[in-house]
């Protein structure tokens, strides 16, 4: 069997996906059978960068140690549950224990143990060694339905009302979920739907049986969620993108809900004059001409890849150079190939993750505009104002692209550089100097005045950039001194480094 290599992994494991689904429920407490790192990265570090949550309050690790790797993790689990009970954390909550790659590695299956300990508790074997985050999310949604919902719902129960709609999918770690969700809710209610459950994002575990009350389900993502929609046995639609894609969705949804078509058309007509007016105005203006002249690439979740391709490509006529969805299909470029393409022929725009951003930085490809469209990568997307889906998404993306065009134009125009002369004025920030050469590895002597000048210059640098600026400036000044054969860095060398715009 040959070994597959991964560059800058794009999808996490099912432990993450499942925890990001279960973690939405306020009435659950998750114990992950994990070493401290798996807990910290998921519960404290990364969910803060994907969802802007200071930490996941309903996640606790067993903190697997060396002895547990040898003897099994049952003792660690028992201790963890005892401590949680002691603190009162489990009161009013369902306990769920979830396996991780490391606990699966040592075959730590706690199903029987948990059944004896607490009949209400459940064990979720995440299959983290083999399943990705999308499979993990899919299985977690189904598991929640089968364990906490379905048994409480009479077989063949009818919907409570014909216009009740569930939204399935939005959960932690889903890029831009609040804005997309807000837009999809608006569209559903616009054509006469009434929201039943937003699952799991705005639901509790106890509310799970209520899933059966809806007549129609809207699955927010193509990456996962259809498993639950199929199990619920009601008609379902995927969340829409673009002007025409969204219009089609509204008509289909209206029909499924039994909304009179007059009402649906009236909503669409009103949207044209409000949400979509910007699209029509930009289309009629000179801005839309640009769209035919530039290309873009898309690296994102399957829904975003399909949605952006449809809107930008089919509806606005932009050239989609290539795309790669998550989960990735065999014929789509992997990260090594994406990197190669970005190095050799970068498109004018790329929607992507921090990986694409790094590949652009590696060749200093400043002419390509990067637009965040997926994780990994730290980005806050917590407001309602940045949707990709629906009519509002179409207007937002068009607005964003046009503003990027303006930026490109701005950067092309000639500019006269102004030299900053006096100390303490203007930041010496800018592109980083060449990294330390072998010769510059050694620390040089600095005159007192030179050090003071450096400090004064750094005072002017924005706080966050100060560390890198201090290193770059230091190296540049030392390099300048070395070139001139000086044994000590003097003020003139610091000035020279600042003047170079280092």
């Amino acid at each position: 069997m040959s070994i597959t290599l991964i560059r800058d992994i794009s999808d996490s494991s099912s432990y993450w996906g499942a925890s990001w689904v279960f973690g939405c429920f306020p009435d659950i407490h998750i114990v992950c059978d994990a070493p401290i790192g798996c807990y910290n990265l998921l519960g404290m570090a990364i969910t803060d960068y994907t969802d802007a949550l200071p930490h996941m309050a309903n996640l606790t690790p067993t903190s697997i140690r060396e002895e547990d790797v040898i003897n099994g993790t049952t003792k660690a689990l028992q201790r963890t549950i005892d401590d949680l009970r002691g603190l009162g954390t489990l009161e009013g909550k369902r306990l769920l224990v979830i396996s991780t790659a490391e606990s699966e590695m040592i075959s730590a299956d706690h199903k029987q143990f948990l059944a004896q300990l607490d009949p209400e508790a459940r064990f979720f074997w995440s299959q983290s060694l083999d399943h990705d985050e999308w499979q993990g999310r899919e299985r977690a949604l189904l598991f929640a339905w089968e364990e906490y919902g379905k048994p409480l719902v009479p077989a063949n129960a009818a919907p409570k009302a014909a216009n009740l709609v569930n939204i399935i999918g939005p959960s932690l770690g889903c890029f831009n979920a609040p804005a997309d969700l807000h837009e999809v809710k608006r569209l559903i209610t616009g054509v006469g739907g009434e929201l039943n459950l937003v699952y799991p994002y705005e639901a509790s575990l106890a509310a799970t049986p209520k899933l059966a009350a809806a007549a129609v389900n809207v699955v927010l993502y193509r990456e996962f969620g259809t498993g639950l929609a199929e199990a619920l046995g009601r008609p379902y639609l995927f969340a829409p993108f673009g002007v025409f894609g969204t219009t089609e969705f509204l008509r289909e949804l209206g029909a499924l809900l039994g909304t009179p078509s007059d009402q649906v058309e009236a909503f669409i007509a009103a949207e044209k004059r409000t949400t979509l007016q910007a699209v029509w105005d930009l289309w009629r203006g000179p801005q839309s001409d640009w769209f035919a002249t530039v290309d873009c690439a898309v690296v994102a979740g399957r829904s975003y890849v399909e949605g952006l391709t449809q809107f930008l490509g089919n509806e606005l006529g932009m050239k989609i150079a290539w795309s790669s969805g998550r989960p990735r299909r065999e014929e789509e470029p992997d990260n090594s190939e994406i990197r190669r393409r970005l190095h050799t022929k970068p498109p004018a725009f790329i929607f992507g993750s921090i990986n694409e951003k790094i590949y652009l930085a590696e060749t200093n490809a400043r002419m390509t505009q990067f637009i965040p469209a997926t994780f990994p990568g730290p980005v806050v997307r917590r407001t309602m104002g940045t949707p990709f889906m629906g009519y509002a998404g179409a207007a937002n993306i068009m607005q964003e692209l046009v503003n990027r065009f303006y930026d490109i134009v701005f950067n092309f125009l000639p500019v006269e550089q102004v030299k900053v002369e006096t100390a303490g004025h203007g930041p010496p920030a800018g592109p980083p100097a060449a990294a330390a050469s072998a010769a510059s590895a050694e620390t040089m002597a600095w005159s007192k005045e030179a050090t003071e000048r450096l400090d004064a210059a750094l005072e002017q640098v924005p706080f966050l950039a100060r560390i890198s600026a201090s290193r770059t400036l230091r190296l540049a000044a030392e390099e300048a001194a070395r070139v001139r054969g000086l044994r000590e860095v003097n003020v003139a060398m610091v000035e020279a480094a600042i003047a170079r715009g280092v």
């Binding site: 597959t4 560059r7 432990y15 790192g37 590895a441 201090s470």
Partner: protein, 430 residues
């Protein structure tokens, strides 16, 4: 600034129960230990990290590395049940090493072996030591065995130092290597000070270039500025390099450190004494105003250098009854702990959990919390000024009189922001 808050619970008449720490240690507070290794290794110019681990681990560590360590592509083999159960860990490691060697300008290939690879049993003797002349260095950092992120920095640095420090090279007299991730201007300031005494700083570790690692081997002595580089110090000691522990922190710390360095580098005693006294006088001048007098500050981080900051705060006049850190207790932490305990600090918690910090929040009343994200969030929910230790304090100079003045002035400013914190909590939580 708040005029004064009692350092102990409200009822000062009854003798308070001593602080006992958290009732359990459920939520350890440290970045994934392995990240410490990635941070040190991926920042070396030309280092091409190869990680041997599962997908979830890879995702998390790559995410934080790309955010906090280096904008550098990271390679790994796919390791699932099929590969692990058929004993292909070794083959997987070799495949990723071969791929890493194909990158441009590779100076070293650190092979970072994590939990599942370590559990499966990755054998060092079966790995190449170099590929096409590019050195391969195995770094084992399973989170289940290494308990904190700073200590993994040490393990990673020691691994590359073993490889790159030349045992045969002759020591250069009167030179010092600095050891610890410090504010980049700090080594300059220390170097300026040493030059006044006839010595100099030769390099600062963990370096950003393999040559910087090699240079450290030529130093007369190494100054372990942070108290968790146990293995790295060991590697240098074996090569006959002297070791100075502690850091030039605050009034007492700076003077003692300057004298210790003077002795280790064999510098002129009289000159050293003059420099030490001058530093002491400069720092005392600033401290005369006791900028933090009457305040109680909590210090809780996972960077391993928390005790240094606590010393500064105390010299600045603050009451710092509680300090917690993710690292373990060792000979390198002993001096700082003793100093803190002699200056009003009642508890130093090693390998802390959030439960310890929460218990301390109940026990004392703080005017400012410098803590981990979880703790700082909790403090903000209570309307207490709070900042994340890692992001906010590690980006400032710290050492000698200049560092002290910068750090204390900043803390004083934070204390003045209490009304903002109170207004927010009033709005959102009441």
């Amino acid at each position: 600034m708040a005029e004064h808050t009692p350092p102990a619970p409200d009822d000062e008449l009854s003798a308070p129960e001593p602080f006992r720490g958290g009732s359990c240690k459920l939520h350890p507070q440290t970045m994934c230990p392995a990240f410490g290794a990635l941070r040190v290794l991926s920042r070396i110019e030309g280092a091409q990290p190869a990680m041997v681990t599962d997908a979830g681990c890879l995702y998390g560590l790559t995410f934080v590395s790309h955010f906090y360590a280096a904008r550098k592509s990271i390679l790994a083999p796919q390791l699932g049940t099929a590969e692990l159960s058929s004993g292909q860990v070794q083959e997987a490691a070799q495949a990723v090493i071969a791929e890493a060697a194909k990158e441009q300008n590779v100076s070293v290939i650190p092979v970072i072996s994590l939990c599942v690879a370590e559990t499966a049993g990755l054998a060092e003797e079966l790995l190449p030591t170099e590929v096409d002349g590019k050195p391969v260095v195995l770094v084992r950092v399973p989170a289940y065995a290494i308990h904190s992120h700073p200590e993994a920095k040490d393990i990673a640095l020691a691994a590359v130092m073993r490889r790159f420090v030349d045992a045969q090279v002759e020591a250069e007299p009167h030179t010092l290597a600095l050891l610890g991730e410090v504010f980049p201007a700090d080594p300059l300031i220390i170097d300026g000070l040493l030059r006044k005494m006839g010595g100099r700083v030769v390099t600062t570790l963990p370096g950003r270039h393999v040559d910087e690692l090699k240079l450290a081997g030529r130093a007369t002595a190494v100054a372990a500025l942070h108290p968790y580089y146990r293995e790295t110090v060991g590697v240098l000691r074996e090569r006959g390099i002297g070791v100075v522990t502690g850091a030039p922190i605050g009034v007492e710390g700076s003077a003692a450190w300057i004298r210790a360095v003077g002795a280790a580098l064999d510098l002129d005693e009289e000159v050293v004494e003059q420099v030490a006294s001058a530093e002491e006088a400069a720092a005392r001048g600033f401290l005369a105003m006791q900028p933090l007098k009457g305040t109680t500050i909590m210090l809780s981080g996972y960077e391993g250098n928390e005790m240094l900051y606590a010393r500064l705060l105390i010299e600045g006049g603050a009451h710092v009854p509680y300090v917690s850190t993710s690292i373990g207790q060792s000979m390198l932490t002993a001096a700082d702990e003793a100093w803190l305990k002699a200056h009003g600090c009642e508890t130093v918690v090693y390998r802390k959990a959030i439960e310890d910090d929460m218990a301390a929040m109940e026990y004392w009343r703080f005017d400012l919390v410098i803590g981990t994200t979880t703790l700082a969030a909790h403090a903000k929910e209570l309307g207490i000024p709070a900042v994340y230790y890692t992001n906010i304090l590690s980006v400032r100079p710290l050492f000698l009189a200049g560092g002290m003045i910068a750090s204390l002035s900043f803390v004083r400013e934070l204390l003045g922001r209490k009304p903002l914190y109170e207004r927010m909590v009033d709005f959102f939580q009441r």
